[in-house]
Each structure stands twice: as structure tokens, then as C-alpha cells.
Symmetry: D2
Subunit: 363 residues, 4 copies
């Protein structure tokens, strides 16, 4: 749901966008790639943290900060049950909302059902829900027609990739009044005085509402930095004009760098156990399943600010919120420096950080 | 945790403070009461909403808004497992924190254990936790000694009644530097550069961080308004200089007024079932257990602003956040008007609303 | 949901039944009580353990053992949201079922909504649910008409007090075939071959399915034993032909006796804190709210076996399942012996333990 | 964690064992495969259902049936946080246990921490826990040394693949007494009379305790049947002596076949959306990521009984527990018949079903 891409004409690409990756498969066959690329998105740490765990936190924060609404007793529908949708559903259910899920994929739908959510079509519940969240990466998931049926006060926001998931454009008609009640919050007022509460004008709700824990940022930044360092330090002939996944060992390395912040103690394999499992005692512990998948990527312009923001945040550990944030930002800074050195720096500075209502590093 | 008291020299008192009630038992024997009083605190709706449900929402909001921290993986200790503590524990556990509980009451301690929380003494975990929350109504629960042992970045806040739960005074020593990083957030810096993050200077974290859903406010306001209306409309001889509980029927009435916002459908007793249960079909459904408990109250000055704030919020439904808020504020407004009429108004206007960083009714 | 009453003509009564207590209020006015009685039901330990916590465990066990069904993805409706209903809802939701609640009391209904359950009328969901659980203490909650509409394979069971909550009698008609598929499980077969799975013929599902952890039994037994000991040891004039509640201090004593099994560490008040709170450092920590409520009781015959079962279990710690069970049974045995001594024993032996498919103490 | 493999000399192999797959990678390089094989294990439906969801149900059932213990307040440690471990942790936490996790893989460890579990080394908690569960696929995870330190009544069981996770062999020494308290439950008695409760002698706790919902069985059976049907019906040259994954489309087909049991309603893509996503409206909705991974398999003898059991269960829908079970068994039967026809049957009948204490289809 977060995503970042960086191009360096002679070096390579790092892509971490879920939807971006998917879209690129369509273009890959055209063979438009001229540099090696690292698919950071499919590294477990990145996927879980930028999607499942990050959204479990940010959906709560985004809705609270913008609307002050109460989760207990609310009815919510989450469109899409991927990692992002799972995170949103988990958080809302945990805080006392009754949650419905919509899905196009039978496998995700089955998972939603097993997790205790009713799988419905949006039209089945649109009249009764208090909250509508999109997390599909698709377009036109919430249409004007849906919004016509929403009840007064229904909150609509997007946690997915595309800012077209909610058809905001369809609300720009003369019969509807837009009233900005505060930053990132618009009330769309119908002739009958019904109000629909739209967050961030359909853009990413969590990016707009200051809800990216620096820990999550650090995990992603560390992964990306490692990928970039690898691309830059690699001998000439290691990578071709192809897409590669971060080796599992590097993925596990990023995870191990963040474990101390949770005071988590890893168990070590005995020689006998390592032999039994056929593993090296220091990992990797999972097979490099994906490493054969070669796909072509192109640069996703939209995602650049976020990537730069990642590094922006690394410069700001003067007043870390907590110990974990301190440690992780520390690590990220190391990664950033290593990376900056390896690319002779300067580039990052030229990016602008995205707008955030209250940056967590503000002193 | 919220509480409000109002005195009208010739009419009576409404008290809704948990700790206040407890304290008053100490003075009651002295027989200092000269007017009838309504114990609103022990009405189920009030207790559950102002405490359990309200805190389940506000602890999350308070911590997020002030520190942007991530709940997943954090270790937290909640001091006190009453309704407030239960709400805090439920929310933190639900969002992926590992939660410890401290208690003095074996009954509450047993409940905490059965709910999956490790019951410990604060000193056992103080060195490892990332978050410390007080919810006891007691004083000196978190001492300078405890804070000496906290790790760098530990966040400390109070959700209980008393602003003396955290011994903030003990932090006003020359060796410690206070750095205000933003509204309601101070970093206490030790000589070794360790930072402890203190919220709201030890006052109620949730009052200071705009996290009172108007729905909760409405439930409490409606209960209080009903109590006041009753006191004012009651025939001369109905109430003596004594403390009374809101009749269960009134309590149930407040609840039923708020059910439509959840689209909740009550089941009605058949004549046969009502006869079998020996109940009136329209309630009350629970016995008036407490109605024999006569206790004396005194006025808790501190709580007046909150009560007035309740009414302040009723004047502000111009841009309700959601349908439920709309409905409930509407109801509260009716109650307020009825009440105001019955006391010839004017009084409320003289109260000042408490400071809130971002009032939910701000347009 | 569990309940037990014991009469000793010259000594007094101990009553622990929720519904029993309620019913007795109807008769109390008639003044039919000739001995003192202890209302054990309203002691926190008893209520929470016999109801909320015990049912959270036993509903899962009862359904699994009898039907092997999967909870994930199932739709269930729980009739009644008291402590028993809350326990059932909590467990089912936790294991991935989508749960609906029916209620007659707006206060309980509001709590259900805030806890994330849709509050409906039984007829709204009866056609779609896979599991129907009664926990009301009422009669005729699930009627033949409801069962006519259930889908094939719907499981129906009762966790409440009364075996008339499900109108089992209405199923004894020639057009329906009863097929006993295993102990405590009947399939009611409709002419169209639809099967409704009825547990324990509508009697308490948890009593019939071996799902009473000895820990729960011990808490209740300890409470009752203390009450009986008190009744027998009390000086002549302490208790009148009235109903009394176990003093909070005794209630807290029972809780403290069971804390070690959870390795839970209580915090002790400092002298200063005790003074501030106006409490004795060793408790009681909660006021004796109920102690003024005097009500009359009569003996509930049905509940005797359960009470005797409590003591039956105390004799059986030869192969305790776990350490906690060991400790607690140990305590219960002490209580039983103390009690037996004080009543010159003999009585208990004459009771029969209820049928249990697989007693946990069986070696 | 469940697993099944079937060999047909001239046709091919279906393998669904997690650990089996892992082990086979070690041998694959040796090039010992002479027939095509289907890797059913990595199909999402299979993985999630046989592991995460199935274990979330069966750990509860296995522990309740065998020991009647109470989950509330218990301390448990789960060794391994893969899908199986995740399921066990989720269920225990949900029912009020305090759960610790041990891991060797930093990525899984980080997930455990983010899910709210303390990640520890077994020795850190072995003295205090009430329940020890292995779910690693490794050997010697729980050693005699660990068991020496367990407290009286500690329950030990294995949910992982290998029956060597708990070093049961080390308990066969003269100083320890084995007392069989009931089917699948042994008490290991130390000279000091300490008892450790061992389930299923360290074999799979869930297979031994009748806790495989037929729904889970059906999902797996359907997946395997489809794979076998494909292998048998495929034209000569489609598959080589290689390992293939079930095409995503088949995986999604299995899921869609089971959705009706949950009354789940899939959303359909509009033409515009399908075009935008570059997907076919009927799927597949996920890329065939794995399909390039060619690995060699060998036959895992141990797993044959389970596979046959799958089919055994399909013959037994005479008294289905519930509607979902009915539907799914129906489907499985279709799959079985289709499969049996395609292989000229007879083979299945020769397998023996594994021992189950109380088969769910027993009438």
C-alpha cells in the first residue's frame, strides 16, 4: 500500500509497490527493462510491515485523528482482504466494530470467512455501514451509486494503492456541496442534507494522517537500503536487465536487526538439529522460492516521495518517540549512510517529503 | 475516570465519579449532606461507557496522537484492572502489545489472569516495558524510583482519576531536563540522556488528547440530564437529604435511546415469558439492587468543567462526524434543553469547556 | 448457569443460582423463609467463574466433543448477553465464528453492540445460522417455529439455566424422527430429510459434556464452603431469617486462595496509599454494596446434584490434570473437610454426582 | 502438518507435507525423481486449512478432550511460529492463556512479536508454563532436560510434523513411572511425585484426538483429488519428471467450491476493472508465482494413511454434523469418485484409516 521506486540510470531499480508489481507483469512481456531491478515488495519483512502490521495501526489512527469516531458498535465494510485489508479488519474487529468484507478472489474470501467476517457484495451492506474502507488496488470499487445509498455520516476512506478506488470524481457535481471540516476531512452534502465523510479526498488515508510508526519505516528503509547497496556493490556480471528478489538471507538479516527492539530472544539450532533440517545454523531458514521469477519493471513515479520520506525520517531521530524507534531509526540511518556513500549521495536531498499533518519527528 | 458533579443549593447533586464515590464513603458517616443526591456513577450505562468502552478507544487515540508509537510488539503495563484498566488492556492486547497488569485487589487480579494478562508487581517489569499506564485512582503508583529504572523512550501516562497516580512532582529536580516536544508531550531527559515520555504531565491522557467520542458523551450526558430532570421535577417529599441511584428503568431508558444508532433490534417478551420471569414487558429487566444503599456525597469541584463540557458538546452538532454521533448529540440536546428549562437555564452558560486540542465539532 | 442450593433445616441455605435468585424475589414478598440464607451468586468470584469464564471454556468443549464441528466461518446466534452469553460470544468470536446476539434488555443489548456483535431478533437470522445457543434463563426462547426455519445441520444447544429455553417438547411429534447419533447428540429429522442437531435434549450443554475445569469448580466450592462454614460457626444472633451476601472480604479471600495457581503477584498498598484510599491494607478493597439487600429464598431442588458434584470432585485429585487443578482441588478439599466437620458430615455422601461422559479425575 | 503422498508408478506423485517438501529439497539435487509430481502443499487453500485454521481448532479440542484443562489464566509456550504455531497461539490467546513463542527464524520471530507474543528461549519459561506445544518440524525441541524443569502437571504435546519434536525416548528410564490415565494421555511421574502430562506419546496431538473438521478434510481432499485428476488426464507431454504446483486457477476453484458453505458472496469484476487489473473476470486472480520452481520429490511413506483417511471420511456423510460438513463431504465424494474412476479405483480401498478415538461420522 506504501510504495517506492527509485531509478538510477546506470545502476538499477528498487520497487516495493504491491500493485505496481502486479501492473508491471502486464508490461514485462514487452521487454522494456534496460537495468537490473530488485523486487523488495515480496520480501516478507516488507510485505508484512508495510501492509498487515502498518495498516492495523494506521487505519485506527487515520480514522480517529480525522473524525474522532468511536469504533465500538460501528458497522464497517472493508473492500479487499489482502494484507492491507486483513490489517484493517483485524484492528476494527479488535476495537468492537462489526466488520464485513468484499472480495473478488475466492481464496481471500475463504480466509475472510474463516477469520469470522461475513463476505458480502458491497451493495448488500452499503445502506447500513458507518465506515467504508477500500483496500483492493482496483478502481471504481466505491461508486457514486454506492455513495448515493450510504447513510448520513458514513465515513469513506482508501487504504489501498490506487486513489481511484473511490470514484471521488463522480462527487464533483453541482448538486453536491463539499464542506472541508478540517485538514483531510471533507463532508459531501446531499440536497437532503445527508453528509458523507470523505478522508484525504480518496488518497491514502494513512499517509495523510501521520500514522507511519518509524519502526515500520525503518524495516522498509533497511530492506530497500540493503537492496540498493547490493545493486551498487555487486560485481558487473552478477545482475542482468532482470528482476531479482532480495535473497532470503538478507530478508532474515533485516528482521534480525529489528528483533532487539522487542527484546525478542532467538533460539539457535544445535548442530544436530541443523543437520536434521539441512540448514545452516545462521540461516537462511526459508528457501529462496521466488528467486527464479524473472519479471520486468518500470519506474512508478508516484511513489518517489514516499521513498524519499523514508530517508527524510532517518535524519530526524533527535527526539525519538520510544526506545524501539530510537534503535530502528539508528539502523536506518546507518543503512542510509551506507547507501548514500555507495551512490555518492546528493540524490535523496532533491526529493520532497510528502505532506504530513504532524510529523512524528517534530520537536 | 470521567466525572462530574453539579450542585444546586436548593435542588440536589449529581455525582458520576468512581473515585469520588469511593472517597465520599469516608465522609458520609460525618453526615455532611444537606440535599438529595443522585449516584449516576453506578448506573450501568454510565460505568460501562465512561470507563470500559470509552477508555478502550481513548487510550489508543491518546498514545497515537501524542507519540505516533506503534502498538504491535510493544510491552505495556497497566496499573489497575478496574473498568478503565480493562478497557486499556483490551485495546492494547487487541493491537498486538504484550500487556502486564498490576493490582491490589485479588478479585480484579484473578480476572486479569483469566483474561490472559500476567499479574505482576510494577518493579518486576518496569525495566522492560515500553508503555506504563496508570488506572487505579490511587496516588504514587508510579514513583521517581520506578521512572529511574524505565528504559529510554518509555511512555508514561495516566488514565485514572487522580493526577497524582504518577508522581510527576518528583521529576521536578535540577538533574532532569524537561523538553516539550509537542502539545501534551514532555520528554524528561536524564543526565545519561535517557528520555521518558510523559503525557499530559500526568493528568488524564484521554481528556487532553481529544478522544471522547460524542456517543460516549451523549450516554453520560443523557444519564445525568435525566437524573437532574428527576431531581427538579420530583414532588417535594420524594427525595430526602440522601443519595439515590437512578432507577434501573431510567438506566434502561438511556440505553434504549442509544440503540438505534447501532441499528440494534431488541427482542420483546411474550406475555407468557414476562409472566414466567415475573417482569413487566417494558422493563425494568434488572432488580433495583442498589436502591437501598443510602450514602452521603459532597461536591467534587474538579469535575464541574467536564460536566459543562458535556453540554458544550451538545451545542455543536453542526457537522456531526457520523450518523450515530448525529442521533446521539440530538438526544443529548433534547435532554439539555429539558434540563435547562427545568432549572430556568442560564447556569450552564457560565461554565467553561475544558481545553481540547482538536474539538470534534470544529468546522 | 450452574446453581446449587442446600438446605439444612436448622442451619440455613446457600444459593448460587442466578435465575434462582431472580425467581425468589417474586416469592420473597410472601415471606416464606424460616432460616438465614447466603446469596453466594452475587459474589464476584462465583459469578465470573461459574458464568463468564466457565462458559467461555465449556461452550467450545461441549460443541467440539459432541459434533466435531469447525468454528471458523460458522454463523452463530447467542440468545441472551448476560455473563453466560458474554462467555459464549467471546469464545465463538475468538475462534472465527460470526456471532449474532438477541436480547430483551437494552443495557445488555448496548454492551453486545459495543463488543462488536450485531443485535438482532432471532427470526432475522434463524434461516442462516449454523449454531443456536440459548443463555437467557427464560422459557420458549427457541420455538418449534424457529426450528422449522433452521437450515440442515444447524446445531442447537442450551447454556442457560432453564431446560425449557429450547422448546424440546414441541419436537416430540410423529412427523419428526429422532436419531441418537452419539451420547448427548440427537438428530431431529424432518420429512424433507433436514436434520437439526440437538445437544443434551435441551438441558445444560456444558454439564453434559465434561467441560467443567476443576479450577472453576474449586472457586465455586470454596465460596460455598466458606458460606456454609460461616453459617454453622456463626453465633446464634448473627443471622436472622434473611438473605445475606458473603462479605466482600470473604469473596476476596477466595480469590486470593486461587491466585498462586496463576503465579500472579499482588501489589500491596503502602501505608500512605491505604490512608489516601481509606482502605485497610489487607482489604476489603470493594465496598459491601449489597449487604443491605435482604431477600427471602427457597430451596431449588434441581440444583442439589451440582453442589454435591462439587464435593465429589474434591475427592478425586489422585491424578490432577495440571498444577493449578492440583492446588485448587487441594484447597477445595480443605474447605470440604472443614465444612463436613462443622456439620458432622455424612450428608454429602448421600448425594449422587451428575452423569459426566469422561470425568477429568478418571484414572 | 498433516500430510499425504501417493505414488502411482506410471502416473505421478502428489505431495502435501510441509516438512516433507523441505526435506526433499535436500535430495532433489541427486535427481532421483522418475515421474512428474504435484506440490499440493504450496496451494494456499491447503496450507491455510491444514495448518493455520485446522490447528486453531484442533489444539483446543485436543487439550480439552484429553485433559479437561482450563485455558483461562494458563501460561503456554508454543515452539515454532509457522502456520501451525500461529494457529495454536491464536486459539490459546483468544481463550485467555498467556502465550510465549520460541523461534529460530528471525522473520517468524518478528511476526510473533508484532502479534503480541513474547519471543523467548524455551529455558527462560520452561519452569513456569502450564502447557508446552511443539510446532517446528524439527527434532529434540523439548528435551529430557526441559522436562526435568517443568512444574507438576505441565501438559506437553506435539502439533508439528515430526514425532521426534518431543524427545519421548528420553523419558523411558527406570526412574520415571508412566501412568496411562486415559486414551492418548500418559502421566510421567518423577521420583518426587511430579507429574508431566504427555499427549499421544509425542505423536500428532490433533490426529489422535478427533479434531479434524470434515470441512478441512474436504478442502485438502478436493485439492489433492484435482491434482491427481490432472496428472491422470493430462496429455502425454504436459508434465515431465519434475515437480509442479497446482495452477492458481485450480487453487481458486477449490476455494470457490467451499464458499457456499459460509454463504459467502463473491464480488465480480466489471469489464472495466478486469481490464484495469489485466485479469480475466473469472480468475486466476493471483500470479502463478511458484510455477517455475521445479523441484524433485520422493514418496513420504508415513503420510499415506492420512490421505486414505481423507477418502475414508468421504464415504461417511450419513449423519453429517452440519450443513457445511454435508456440502463439503458431498464435494469430496464427487472428487473421490472422479479420481477413482480416472485411476480405475481399487487402490484407495487397500489403505487403512488412522486410529481416531471418536470418528465424527460415527452414528
Amino acid at each position: 500500500m506504501l510504495h517506492a521506486t527509485t531509478i538510477f540510470m546506470h545502476a538499477g531499480i528498487v520497487e516495493e509497490s504491491v500493485t505496481g508489481v502486479h501492473r508491471l507483469y502486464q508490461l514485462s512481456k514487452a521487454g522494456k527493462l534496460c537495468v537490473p531491478a530488485m523486487n523488495v515488495n515480496d520480501s516478507v519483512t516488507k510485505t508484512k510491515f508495510d501492509n498487515l502490521y502498518s495498516c492495523r495501526e494506521s487505519i485506527i489512527d487515520a480514522l480517529k485523528r480525522s473524525t474522532d469516531l468511536m469504533f465500538g458498535g460501528k458497522q464497517a465494510v472493508v473492500c479487499g482482504y489482502g494484507e492491507v485489508g486483513k490489517g484493517c479488519c483485524q484492528a476494527l474487529k479488535a476495537l468492537g466494530s462489526a466488520v464485513y468484507v468484499t472480495e473478488i478472489d475466492p481464496i481471500c474470501a475463504l480466509q475472510a470467512a474463516m477469520d469470522g467476517f461475513r463476505v458480502v457484495k458491497l451493495t448488500e451492506v452499503i445502506r447500513q455501514v458507518d465506515i467504508v474502507i477500500t483496500a483492493t488496488g482496483n478502481k471504481g470499487v466505491v461508486t457514486r451509486e454506492h455513495m448515493e445509498r450510504m447513510k448520513n455520516g458514513c465515513v469513506v476512506c482508501n487504504m489501498g494503492h490506487s486513489n481511484t478506488e473511490i470514484d471521488v470524481h463522480s462527487l464533483r457535481t453541482p448538486d453536491l456541496i463539499w464542506e472541508k471540516v478540517r485538514s483531510q476531512v471533507d463532508h459531501i452534502i446531499w440536497p437532503n442534507n445527508k453528509r458523507v465523510v470523505l478522508l484525504a479526498e480518496g488518497r491514502l488515508a494513512n499517509l495523510c494522517c501521520s500514522s507511519l510508526p518509524s519502526f515500520v519505516v525503518s524495516v522498509t528503509a533497511a530492506t530497500q537500503a540493503l537492496a540498493l547497496i547490493e545493486l551498487y556493490n555487486a560485481p558487473q556480471n552478477r545482475y542482468k536487465a532482470d528482476v531479482y528478489l532480495l535473497p532470503k538471507k538478507m530478508d532474515e538479516y533485516v528482521a534480525s536487526l529489528h528483533l532487539p527492539t522487542f527484546d525478542a530472544h532467538l533460539t539457535e539450532l544445535t548442530d544436530e538439529q541443523a543437520k536434521y533440517l539441512g540448514l545452516n545454523k545462521v540461516g537462511p531458514f526459508k528457501p529462496n522460492y521466488y528467486s527464479q521469477n524473472k519479471k520486468f519493471y518500470f519506474c512508478n513515479k508516484k511513489s518517489i516521495p514516499c521513498w524519499s520520506y523514508t530517508f527524510a525520517s532517518t535524519a530526524c531521530s533527535r527526539a525519538p518517540t520510544s526506545h524501539s524507534e530510537h534503535l530502528t531509526l539508528w539502523w536506518t540511518r546507518q543503512a542510509a549512510e551506507a547507501f548514500t556513500k555507495s551512490v555518492a549521495g546528493g540524490l535523496i536531498a532533491s526529493f520532497e517529503p510528502p505532506t504530513r499533518t504532524e510529523p512524528e519527528w517534530e520537536a
